[in-house]
């Protein structure tokens, strides 16, 4: 199973920059290293501030583009990890180990996978063995 862990930093979204301290960066890279060593980290990215971003809204049949910053935004994604875990609890356990700051939160969401598909697709597990090179 795969899980997305979205990091919502508890910072002032009006702030000009999201510069973290050197210690924060060090702790976070050790955490990323730990995920990687455990073989569960599939990918991760940090996102630039919404000031640099844009929103594309769909209403009335036409997309409307608004450039950042977004005054109404209370919670803003700061980055994400995509991990592999054997259960939601395991993903949550990984999230609790993040060296996050006061006020941050991480949202853990499962990615749609094979087991979410209908039974007939799942029944496809009954393939006969063939040379792995060919499959």
């Amino acid at each position: 199973m795969r899980f997305m862990m979205f990091m919502y930093p508890g910072i002032d979204t009006d702030a000009e920059s999201w510069e973290p301290s050197a210690e924060d960066v060090g702790a976070m890279s050790r955490y990323n290293e730990e995920l990687s060593k455990a073989g569960v980290l599939l990918s991760l990215d940090g996102l630039r501030a919404p000031t640099d971003g844009a929103r594309v809204r769909f209403a009335g049949g036409t997309p409307t583009v608004t450039d950042g910053p977004f005054a109404e935004a209370k919670e803003v994604v700061g980055g994400y990890w995509l991990i592999q875990a054997s259960s939601k609890e395991e993903a949550v356990e990984w999230a609790t180990r993040c060296p996050a700051n006061e006020g941050d939160f991480i949202e853990v969401r499962q990615v749609f996978e094979m087991e979410d598909f209908p039974e007939d697709v799942q029944a496809a597990a009954e393939l006969s063995e063939r040379p792995p090179e060919q499959t």
């Binding site: 073989g39 009954e126 060919q134």
Partner: protein, 420 residues
Amino acid sequence: MSDGAEAGRAVDAVWRIESARLIAGLARMTGDVGLAEDLAQDALVAALERWPQSGVPENAGAWLMATAKNRAIDLARRGRRFEDRREQLAREAGLRMAMDAAEHEAAASGLGDDLLSLIFTCCHPLLSSEARVGLTLRLLGGLDTEEVARAFLVSEATVAQRIVRAKRTLKEAHAPFEVPQGEELDERLPSVLATIYLIFNEGYAATAGESWMRLDLCEEALRLGRVLAGLMPRQPEVHGLVALMEIQASRTRARVGPGGEPVLLLDQDRARWDPLLVRRGLAALERAEGLGHGAFGPYTVQAAIAACHARARSAEETDWPRIAALYDALAQLTPSPVVELNRAVAVGMAFGPAAGLELVDALVEAGELAGYHLLPSVRADLLAKLSRGAEARAEFERAAEMTENTRERELLLARASKLR
């Protein structure tokens, strides 16, 4: 779900993350993998009793380790009657210090990581491949006996017995708990890689059973491969194996049709290949090739073949001459009739069906792969391309008779009937 069950699942989650390191550390201290696992299991039982009330402690790994060490001291205490309490305490203090020293020494020596030692011990050449797989999943994957049994479609008793026997074998042989060095490393690494790949293939080939469990096996094999690559970053074949598994796993969703029928590689919808896994696989292959300095092992070569398919945007764009050359290299590294059959397919695609058929016929003449349905199936395909319809039909029918898989039989018979 009850609170108790929920708390139990939280403990399981910690266990999955911590158990391998815990068992590895305890094995370093005690020199006995079997005892290490027993101590770790006792710590798990203690956690299941206490954590639902107390909550998961902040440093769960350290808590489990401390509990397991206490348990070791309890066991030592039970084994002997002391004349006076002071002697008992002195002995226990000594034991505790010895365990701490062993832990410290292991951390400072740099002579191989505990976890890596555990991997090599689980895949010890003294053990049968079933025992290696069982021990690896249990001690490194944190799976319980029931989960291993379910994944391999054998009874729980069989798995339990295999694991007990494997631990006894290791103990009786006084197999040292360490990472082999030099030539011995070169000799033993293949059995580690083979064990991980066997776990992957058990999930990937999915001969039967609940599919989600099987996919879990693929994921677990991938995870173990990545862990190994982190522990042995200079070994090209480890990256080669990871590359092979990542690329093969990228096709999981494309390998089955809506009715559950197998979809062959060249017929797969490439849009359904997982681009993240493809990218990870190609990156791992690049690492393997960079470290290998032109001399590639069998996993790297197989990964390179898989990469040829992954890079081709459509089946028509496949670089068949390169695949044929890679199969040629693979046939020299690990000669086998199955590799030869795959080479025949690649040669047929690259240089025409007649060239492929020549290789297949050589296999038939040599009496290889008798009873293997893919031999007549490949032969039939080549004959059909050469417009030898009647012969092709007979071969498809023969292949259909040989396969034990219903869906595959239907597929083969359908191809035969088109040739009428």
